[in-house]
Symmetry: C2
Subunit: 343 residues, 2 copies
Amino acid sequence: MRSEGKNTINDVARLAGVSKKTVSRVINRSPLLNADTRAKVEKVIADIGYVPNVQARALALRRNFLIGLLHDNPNAQTVMHVQAGILEAIRDTEFELIVRPIDRGSSTMLADVRNFLERQRLYGVLILPPVSENELLAELCRDVGCRYVRMGSVALDKPEHMVASNDREVVTEAVNHLISLGHKRIGLVAGPHGFRSARERRKGFEEALEAAGIRLPRSLIAEGNYTFETGLAAADRLLDLSPRPTAIFASNDEMAAGVLHAAHKRGIEVPGDLSIIGFDDTTIASHIWPPMTTVHWPIISMARSAALKLLADFFGDNLAAEEPSLFPSTLIHRASVAPAREP
Amino acid sequence: MRSEGKNTINDVARLAGVSKKTVSRVINRSPLLNADTRAKVEKVIADIGYVPNVQARALALRRNFLIGLLHDNPNAQTVMHVQAGILEAIRDTEFELIVRPIDRGSSTMLADVRNFLERQRLYGVLILPPVSENELLAELCRDVGCRYVRMGSVALDKPEHMVASNDREVVTEAVNHLISLGHKRIGLVAGPHGFRSARERRKGFEEALEAAGIRLPRSLIAEGNYTFETGLAAADRLLDLSPRPTAIFASNDEMAAGVLHAAHKRGIEVPGDLSIIGFDDTTIASHIWPPMTTVHWPIISMARSAALKLLADFFGDNLAAEEPSLFPSTLIHRASVAPAREP
DNA sequence: TTGTACGCGTTATCAT
DNA sequence: ATGATAACGCGTACAA
């Protein structure tokens, strides 16, 4: 059973007494093939433990079975969830996943990606936010003839190239929830302006307040960059205000955890004195104390769906093509929100 | 500049008026080459935006530039850290990373991996715990002729195939710290017995107590499976004890977070009434409240080093071969530990 | 220093 | 239904 990786299609052909094209037909499940011949070849394949060489196959087909994940997302949980979703989609297929972090901000980013795509000639790539929001990158994919599917917080591309969530709406819903509990001074820890998701979530926040006729001072909006530390710093600014907010919506869970941390440091009771809502529903949201009310962002499903979409024309059956493009996020009620109570 | 991926080495040769072998020499930086010729060829390459085809190259070289990450580690942070370390090591090289989660427990696991390795013919693989502890898997790698480097909590293989941490020692140190603060009833939330890391950490725990002449009832040891939920459940058992432990060491941060959560639920003050130490130093350790004292497991460095080790004979210069094999973990003091106080 | 001829392992064409 | 032969794009002997 010890196959030194030495056996080739020629060995199989010789041992089976057929041509290598016939072996190829067996491997590729060609329908026009004598059952006896097939059985004979399959026996030889099993006996010597023959495994096709994917590189040779790729060369001949001018196409390989690798899909890439392009990302510059700082959140480890998110990236892992995405990988999990993709891997779930390609499990039991011959596709493999190559991960490729890219450096947004680097002046050579586009050139780097172009080089990567042209070298590897991947079957296609999945692109995570925030770099998925970069129009030039999508254009680059088209230019080099690489299939792509983008993931994001709002539809930025045609359905076959996009899987999106409805961040703005669900944030409005979350903030409405706070308003319905009597909160009037609601702080926002926004994400970095360069992120479309951050802008969408901020709009959702503002729209909710506007609809409720609440005008908030600019000082109630602080900006972070989606990390715990910046969430902590933003919360420090917000909680220094007088009167301070009775609730804070943070644009992601990392920052929300920072807000909670800041509250703990000051001895501010959550949710009694301060309600907090986050976004993402990463594990930390349910692990910290108190368990945090947050928006569940269905990133695993989105990633799985994005991968299926990418493989749509491979599978032929258009099951994959019918993958949804919009994945609604939902508000998860836990224990970090309570009715407003004046300090 | 639009290169349709159509240009081949032949096009370059034709346009430059040289043979394709000469082009090949330019690409592969052969030293014996006329400077003029080289410049001429390089100009053509730049002009038409020629990029070598990696699959063809792989076929000819009978070797590719892909490394694999085999893992079945349930901790997202850990896996991401490992990926970060590997990617750091292969940045600016022509290597790419293929991630391949595997299903420990599946009866076909070894066959699946064999199939994967034989199909992809990777340059080499890095193996994460716990599956890195599986001797059959290492044997499989040798059998199919695939380079490998294992990561783990104790040296299980020859230095060129292994990067390890010193879990047992550092846990002893952590527990000694608790003992020095007057703790005598110290609970353990052990990891699953199938994990070598869990057994090592448990031994470190037991050795510290033994050295201090502390005999603990079996009931002070609870087992989880490295997840938050099982840590929570284990802590519930431990905290039901009477008298209850004044300190708990959990074999990883996830479970330690569960312990902290359990304490919060019961209104047990941490660290006043209960000290907690975790293991891993993942982000949650510093993000939860109170910030958790834990063992820093230098997984990023280990992964980077493991990748460099894997590429040792590629780089030729034996800088990579000299990568260390042992990475000491260190105790990080934060705020979840205080002197013992009787309930 | 440069070129020719051939091999790498597979699939595609076009016969039979 | 099956086979001979030519791609696919690149690297290596060996020759020039």
